[in-house]
């Protein structure tokens, strides 16, 4: 049986890197579609969390979601999407790091509904870190920062949780058809 050589980060094969890259492509595509059709606050987290968890389910290796976040952020910058300019990279990378961190503790995250809901909400809320830093640099009162962040991240967390809730059913179906490998017991 041919032994696959790693291509990226001494971890991912070329096939896995392509698959993760295509998950990033889907994030960018769905972000563009939703922006044009709905324009709801926080809606971008819906498909972002779905595809981050899908990426982790399709490639059950540590760093998979982070790679997707990096590539999605870079492609979004090149396409000129998002009002934050180059800072949009953080909006993708921070939730991805949360997803990878959660799978360190629970490798079978991508097929568990409750775990996905929790991680989806927390990862979406992590995007608020950039907002907190910016508000702090602007000299806003701490109390107002907290209230501002609570309001703006509520909808992000809501959409993120809803998007995450769709991932386990899809991942289980792909695993049942042997299109993606089952996750290992631990990384």
């Amino acid at each position: 049986m041919k032994q696959e050589t790693t291509f990226l980060w001494n971890r991912f094969t070329l096939r896995e890197a392509f698959l993760l890259g295509f998950c990033a492509t889907f994030i960018v595509l769905t972000r563009a579609v939703l922006r044009m059709k709905f324009g709801l606050p926080g809606h971008s987290m819906f498909f972002l969390m779905f595809f981050l968890l899908m990426a982790r389910g399709c490639v059950p290796k540590l760093g998979a979601a982070t790679l997707v976040g990096l590539v999605a952020g870079a492609v979004s910058i090149m396409l000129g999407m998002g009002k934050n300019g180059p800072l949009i990279l953080l909006n993708f990378v921070l939730p991805a790091i949360v997803v990878d961190g959660a799978t360190l503790f629970y490798p079978r995250l991508a097929i568990n509904l409750v775990a996905c809901l929790v991680v989806g909400a927390v990862a979406s809320a992590s995007k608020a870190l950039t907002g907190i830093l910016l508000d702090f640099l602007m000299g806003i009162d701490t109390e107002i920062i907290i209230r501002h962040i609570l309001i703006t991240t509520f909808f992000s967390a809501l959409f993120g949780a809803l998007g995450s809730a769709m991932a386990p059913a899809v991942v289980r179906r792909l695993q049942a058809n042997r299109l993606v490998p089952a996750p290992p017991a631990s990384d």
Partner: protein
């Protein structure tokens, strides 16, 4: 020809969405990406530091001067900053709730404007820098394997956009409830994921398999350093056991391939 108002004609002449690259000739467009980043960093730092009305006015004049020096229009500015309106209303409201209208109006307005001014240099950078320039800059700072992955994903955006449209059309013809109106009801979201997302992901898995096989057949990724496929070497580079070593590092100045290890 239908009559169009002046506003509709102007709207049609500007960008289609926020932060879209504008292909015009301006001093800012001619600046290098590094200079634009430096200018942006200076304006962002200035936006963070301002506290007095006069300093805010100066920074606002500089930022808007930079924006309009790129030959961007008021319509472009509206498209770019309208997303900040919700944030501005929230921040102004929170300040007025805490300090009252008279006490909270100035700090709330100042903070809201600071946030907008902080993002304007980044918006100008994206609106005045072509994707090809961004890619060239990216190649200098990102390892070539990561850059290859990013450019491949960028290249596949229109491919998968087309796949998404075709799958959505086929599934709608089969009765899937995935139109924009259907998706307003959460009960139809299952159709979205099972009828649209799963086929799309299966297509992605197949495409990843084919693309990786195609790249590996050309020797891509065999060597740790970057290599170039050159068909002229095909006839000369057969090894002793008949296998063909196609991917060899090439000296970009002489055009000759570095010799392989025996």
């Amino acid at each position: 020809m239908p009559d169009t108002t002046w506003i509709e004609r102007r709207w049609a002449a500007t960008s289609d969405y926020a932060c879209q690259f504008r292909a015009v000739n301006s001093p800012v467009h001619r600046l290098g990406a590094g200079w634009k980043l430096l200018m942006g960093a200076f304006l962002c730092a200035a936006a963070i530091q301002v506290r007095e009305p006069w300093s805010l006015a100066i920074v606002m004049a500089m930022s808007l001067g930079y924006y309009f020096a790129a030959r961007l229009t008021l319509f472009d500015l509206w498209r770019d900053v309208r997303f900040f309106l919700i944030q501005m209303v929230i921040i102004l409201g929170l300040y007025c709730i805490k300090y009252g209208v008279s006490g909270g109006l100035w700090p709330g307005t100042r903070t809201s404007l600071q946030i907008v001014l902080f993002f304007i240099p980044g918006i100008v950078f994206i609106r005045t820098t072509q994707s090809s320039q961004l890619m060239r800059g990216l190649r200098r700072i990102v390892p070539y394997r990561m850059a290859f992955l990013i450019f491949t994903c960028f290249r596949f955006v229109p491919v998968f956009a087309r796949e998404l449209r075709e799958i959505a059309l086929a599934q709608r013809l089969r009765g899937a409830r995935i139109t924009a109106r259907d998706l307003l009801s959460p009960g139809n979201w299952q159709d979205l994921f099972h009828c649209l997302m799963i086929p799309l992901i299966v297509r992605a898995i197949r495409t990843a398999d084919e693309a990786s096989l195609s790249a590996e057949a050309r020797g891509f990724g065999v060597r740790p350093e970057r290599s170039y496929f050159d068909h002229r070497l095909l006839a000369r580079s057969s090894s002793a056991d008949g296998a063909i070593d196609e991917a060899r590092p090439i000296n970009r100045k002489t055009g000759s391939a570095t010799p392989t290890q025996p």
